[in-house]
Symmetry: C2
Subunit: 682 residues, 2 copies
């Protein structure tokens, strides 16, 4: 269907290195590990089969040494934080259930002990946690408080006489809920509870609480329930935990950010309770970083399957009277899949920059407040967009494979069900974007940082008010675009990176400035009125955050494209990256074209060129689409979708061979239609 | 959070009658039936449990008499086609598995016998099919040909000596695939195959083919496979059927549109093979009509659950220091749910107009080609949009319920998985929209009807070329909007129905005219070049079809609103319907704002009012949102989601009671934060 254009000659390994980024070796090591069927879910298992298989696979991950990477060198690790998270993300290719269950065991349970515990506590529990010998839970979320974790209802009251904490669930909504490992495996949990000593509530702290005895039965005072079936993640045993006056030794409080002496005196290295709490939560940013990367892996797998199928699958004759047309050659099919490929490239490359920031902060290379806040903001925003993108991508891939896409054996519906929860856990996306928005505002206008924004945004408000001004780099992105849009209009001009960046960044600039203007009166309002004013702009705030994250992702992709261009070695790959960047940028601009037009940023003549330019980019990229997915670095053992690896091609070949042979025989039935046409001619 | 505005006082039963439409009694009867737990899927069953329960439920549906409604009065029915389909749609409240399995048994298998069979064939099989005693399949789709059904590979070759047809699967891709009832239950199938007699292929015809013996084993030459796990619909036993030279009597050809005499002569009441085939397919439009309605039911259930939860669930304090804010009071939450409610209203009301057309055609009141083509076009377009809308709606509802929405017990993830396949079966949505587009084009410009558009669009091309010009009513929608947009701008003006209709219809008008202009050269091109030109505009064509269907849905909602307004009896309900219409219309205009601006239809000042007007409509509708979902007519036995019917409210009440009591005690721990504030004041 292409009009004689020659596809680019691409080396997929060059693109793979671009996508895999800084920790390419770690990714490939875990991908190799994930080819082992022992790490996959059983095809037709019961819920218990899925859970048992995932538990066993967590053990295999522990044996691979992955979980030890972030440990300090003193404790037998190598303090490789970026490599650790990169490896974890690739576990999605075995199954998202494994990624999440391993994440609970090593990243959350083990990570909480590592980051919140002291040396004795490390000695007591860390080795067992990271080897998987001590299966554990991370019990933060409660039925009544998901996003607003500062308000959990569980209490841990210090009893001076016994030198014990009493952990208690005072009402049903304070039950720990959706807790991974709780329904089946966990022997212990890190429990987040309000620490009370000497009549004072010092806020949420983490406690090590044993849950089950050696036989797997619940310990006295512990009530465990099974969450049962979910929308996905069948290998993860989520459950509920309630505590009925459960006694734990004083030494089970993880003391990094708050300790209680034998006689009940509280002390903390961080004076402000608000800052203390957010610092404690800050160690958990790793979860969001890894979900951003995991969402990219899942998107790549889905596109890999759909693109390969689109090259094999044929439906309807069009240009030829006998040969049916491949799906990949239909314009709408290209428009469905190619923008998602460009988005996956943008998300993968941006994720690598996030992972780099993460590594710099966690390795201590730059553990400044500024670096940490940049990390937290980007992790929140990137995770929100990439997890939503994963759902859109997997769904489009599933629809692009038609009925075959709906069959569990072709993997797409399972991936989608698994990834579904990523958009609301480890921070609900809507809440995360409000945190990003608040950062944008306080960066834009210092005086806004003292406003009590109410609701979700207060979470970050408390922190921003106490830290130095957060550096989004926002002040640099504003620029006048009038000089860029008045010049003559043609496709090349529409594809200009400067125009794309100007439009995207000007949109963020204008939205934030307008919000700041609207919210300024809140300073002199009562809490209730201020909250109402804030609420009237909540939607705008979230849209501004999305625009900001989209800009960052475009910039990440653009920078990487220039790096390859400037390297001069890979001209064809640089060319395809430019097409990808343009398609990503123009798709964003098309999505927000109403805004750009409404604010006079995009003249009509230029706006009308965007659609045709996108069509043309999609057509060109479709020609190289097999290379583009080959660059994802996955093989049949990762895709595990029969339609993507030969089944459809074999059937199509057999059918075409049948018709070719049949047409050559003398007794092949003639079509009634054909007879009528001949008769009409007579 | 509302600023003292008073909600409207609404009678939900008035709105319910608006939504339920012409067959309101039939809907309520089946809803009552669906409250019976015997019709529901077992909560924790195996795949076999789900299938067995659904098979039993199909029996209960047969006993209810629903399946007999469309039969002729001679044969014991009442020829109530609209009532029949309306009732079927409501089966979704029991489970989509039941709706689909019953649809296969009665609508497809029974329907094919009814609409394609002769009197003797009715006498032989119809009663058994509609009573469920003879479980059957509808075997049309093949692995290699889903959307392009004219090209199925299965053959049925007439053997004069034996007076039998030999049904055969000549290659693997010709295996019947995704066939409901095939994996477990079907004793027979209506099989679509190329009818060959005396060396001539007369195209696809339907044959009655026995599949299993009394013990349930496959008959000689029949190979059956189980599709196993899918993305949803666990109660439906989809499978594959292949035929190895299977012999059936000549009398098993369903003869309404084509018969073969004992000595092998073919005859048909319809001369043209193309028209014959499409007329045969036309009897199947019922499936698409019922999927449009089923998608509306599923969307309503999901919104019902999410809105009720949003009224009970609280998270973060904002306007009050101690009382947390309800989700429904957050602006973003309103913006997430209220436009979807307006869309559900538009889809429900429009569906009723479609069902009316269906009833008029199938009852014979107006069985003209024009009426039938209008029905087919609207069924294709409505089904495409409403099934996509259902997926978006259920997903947004699931996310709006956070982690609780991901738990299977709250029903949303199951509904979504079930509805997923609705977008690609009974006509892939992308293919259906091309059929709509082709109709739009041929209606706009007669000369375009002779072009071979290639690919999917040819399906309809063949038909349109032989029928009288299809009447979309399209010629009437164009109007100049310049007079409407130049007047003074305020919110009221933006909410003007005339402005909304002018913008929506002008968009369709302009898009179709531009497409026609672009495609005209195809008339003088070769097939290959014409197909290429067509493909270069495929995306535009689909977008134009979507725009057209959106306009029809807006018009349906608008007409109904005016009917209630003009009735004068229900002023408050009319007011809320006007808000719903405005929100639906403005949401569409906002979605396409780039287009409206790009073509100079929407001045900047007016465009900027749309966002704030939508915010304000969402806030007002949120105040009445419980009434709006109450009007859907479902109770706890339909929703079956604990979070929507009291579980969350009870937990929240208990927690608030706990804190109220605690704050009143003298030994309630004081917050460290509070102590620090007091210390700072000293």
């Amino acid at each position: 269907m292409n009009r004689g254009k020659t596809p680019l000659t691409l080396d997929a390994t060059v693109l793979r290195d671009v996508l895999d980024g800084e920790w390419t070796e770690a990714r490939r090591r875990i991908r190799d590990l994930c080819e082992d069927p022992a790490l996959h879910l059983p095809a037709d298992g019961t819920l218990e089969d899925m859970r048992a298989a995932t538990t066993a696979a967590v053990g295999a991950v522990a044996e691979s040494g992955l979980a030890r990477l972030p440990m300090s060198e003193d404790e037998g690790g190598s303090e490789k934080h970026g490599e650790y998270v990169a490896g974890f993300e690739e576990l999605v290719t075995a199954s998202p259930s494994l990624q999440i269950k391993a994440g609970v065991q090593f990243g959350l349970f083990g990570g909480a002990i590592m980051h919140l515990g002291n040396d004795e506590q490390h000695a007591k529990w860390l080795e067992d946690a990271l080897s998987g010998r001590l299966p554990g839970s991370f019990a933060m979320t409660e039925i009544g408080h998901g996003s607003d974790v500062a308000e959990v209802g569980t209490t841990a009251v210090y009893d001076v006489d016994a030198q014990e904490f009493e952990v208690h669930t005072p009402f049903r909504a304070a039950t720990k809920e959706y807790i991974g490992n709780a329904a089946r495996d966990a022997r212990a949990a890190v429990v987040f509870a309000q620490l009370v000593t000497k009549g004072v509530n010092h806020g949420v702290h983490a406690f090590f609480v044993p849950l089950r005895d050696e036989e797997g039965g619940p310990l006295p005072g512990i009530a465990l329930e099974d969450d049962g079936l979910k929308g996905g993640l069948p290998g993860v045993d989520n459950g509920r935990i309630a505590f009925d006056q459960v006694r734990i030794p004083r030494e089970n409080l993880l003391t990094r950010y708050g300790a209680v002496s034998a006689d009940g005196d509280y002390s903390s290295p961080i004076e402000s309770p608000g800052r203390r709490f957010f610092t404690m939560l800050g160690t958990l940013v790793q979860g969001r970083v890894s979900l951003d990367g995991a969402a990219v892996v899942a998107s790549k797998l889905a596109l890999d399957i759909a693109v390969r199928y689109a090259h094999d699958r044929r439906q309807f004759t069009s240009t030829s009277p006998v040969e049916e047309t491949r799906l990949i050659d239909y314009q709408r099919h290209q428009r469905r899949l190619m923008p998602l490929i460009s988005q996956a490239y943008a998300n993968a490359i941006s994720h690598d920059t996030l992972l780099h920031t993460f590594d710099v902060v966690f390795s201590g290379e730059d553990d400044s407040d500024q670096a940490r806040e940049l990390l937290e903001t980007q992790a929140a925003g990137f995770k929100a967009l990439s997890t939503w993108d994963a759902l859109t991508t997997i769904q489009e891939a599933r629809e692009a494979c038609g009925g075959a896409g709906y069959m569990a054996e072709n993997r797409l519906v399972g991936l989608r069900g698994d990834l579904d929860v990523y958009v609301t856990f480890e921070g609900d996306n809507t809440v995360l974007l409000q945190l990003v928005g608040k950062r944008l505002l306080t960066d834009y206008a210092k005086e806004l940082k003292d406003i009590d924004f109410g609701g979700a945004a207060r979470l970050i408000g408390a922190q921003a008010a106490e830290h130095t001004l957060f550096r989004t780099g926002f002040a640099n992105i504003g620029r006048t675009i009038s000089d860029l849009v008045t010049v003559s209009v043609n496709e090349k001009r529409v594809r200009s990176g400067k125009v794309q960046e100007a439009l995207l960044s000007d949109r963020v600039d204008t939205m934030v400035a307008s919000l700041a203007q609207s919210l300024r009166p809140a300073r002199s309002m009562s809490q209730a009125d201020g909250a109402r004013l804030f609420n009237e702009h909540q939607n705008e705030l979230i849209e501004a955050s999305i625009a900001y994250i989209e800009l960052l992702k475009w910039q990440g992709l653009n920078t990487e494209m220039h790096r390859i261009e400037d390297g001069g070695k890979h001209t064809e790959e640089a060319k395809v990256l430019r097409r990808i960047r343009d398609l990503y940028g123009l798709s964003l601009i098309e999505k927000h074209m109403g805004w750009h037009s409404m604010y006079g940023r995009l003249p009509m003549a230029r706006a009308r060129l965007i659609g045709p330019t996108i069509n043309s980019l999609c057509e060109k990229l479709a020609q190289n689409s097999l290379d583009l997915v080959e660059a994802f670095g996955y093989g049949p053992a990762h895709r595990r979708a029969p339609i993507a690896d030969g089944a459809e091609a074999a059937r199509q070949d057999e059918a075409r061979a049948y018709f070719r042979a049949a047409r050559a025989t003398s007794d092949w039935p003639v079509d009634e239609k054909e007879l009528r046409k001949r008769a009409a001619r007579r």
